[in-house]
Symmetry: none
Subunit: 134 residues, 2 copies
Amino acid sequence: MKDGLLTERQMEVLRYRRQGLTQQQIADIIATSKANVCTIEKSAMENIRRAKETLDFLYTLDSTHLCSIKSGTDLFDVPAIIFSEAEKLNIKVKYDTISLINHLRDSRPKSYQARSLSENVEVYLTTDGDIYFS
Amino acid sequence: MKDGLLTERQMEVLRYRRQGLTQQQIADIIATSKANVCTIEKSAMENIRRAKETLDFLYTLDSTHLCSIKSGTDLFDVPAIIFSEAEKLNIKVKYDTISLINHLRDSRPKSYQARSLSENVEVYLTTDGDIYFS
DNA sequence: GATAAGTTAAAGAAAAGTGTTTAAATTGTC
DNA sequence: GACAATTTAAACACTTTTCTTTAACTTATC
């Protein structure tokens, strides 16, 4: 049983990067070229992108795409949009306004600044009223 | 640029599975053996597990290691340990006792038996008080 | 415009993942 | 117990990914 998608090398580079080191500095530490650090970092980011996309597929597997919420939308306006869309499908969302906001905050911790969404968010709905964000 | 981790074959099997078909039925449809359907489905699940683990790593990247909880610890003792460690760093954990236990149960479903942890758990804390386990 | 930081491309060797078959073993259900 | 459903293991061909080097190219920053 292997663990995540990222190789040891990739995690190593991401950790150093997070600490603010330049690719050249990392290259010196792990004894390789800066070009190599660049490609390792790049493939790490690609793997992260693929991991996200994989989980997105899972959500779409047992839910239907409900709507898109555009970047810039006020966090507090999101529940009304979702309730309205779900009503069209005659499905009762199993969250109230407050827990819906909490749910969004929990599952997309980096998608908002202050009260405003910083990127588009896709909303999925299962037949039993569960909501997923991506 | 490829998309997710799952191959066409793997998504195909997962979709049929979601519709309630048996492995034998799927084997007939996609013209292969049921054993093969089984391994394809299994590697799909493995890929999904790895995708989750990859994103978990991301969380640990921008958080600091708070403490280790030793195997055998009573589940109900965990929150007090975490609150105490977070206090040392002057960070207020954004979960209360109960939701912290639920959070642990959700993110490490196989790490405990009855009320006792079955393996060591690493605890990570972000600057805004979010908690992650691995 | 010079220096540092980052990116890109080509090429090769090693490692890892996929789909497949066949055959045997397990599990669940009536 | 019998039967269907599922799982496991070993083996093989094939494809993809990873890490690496070298050399050239782009972008900021001073």
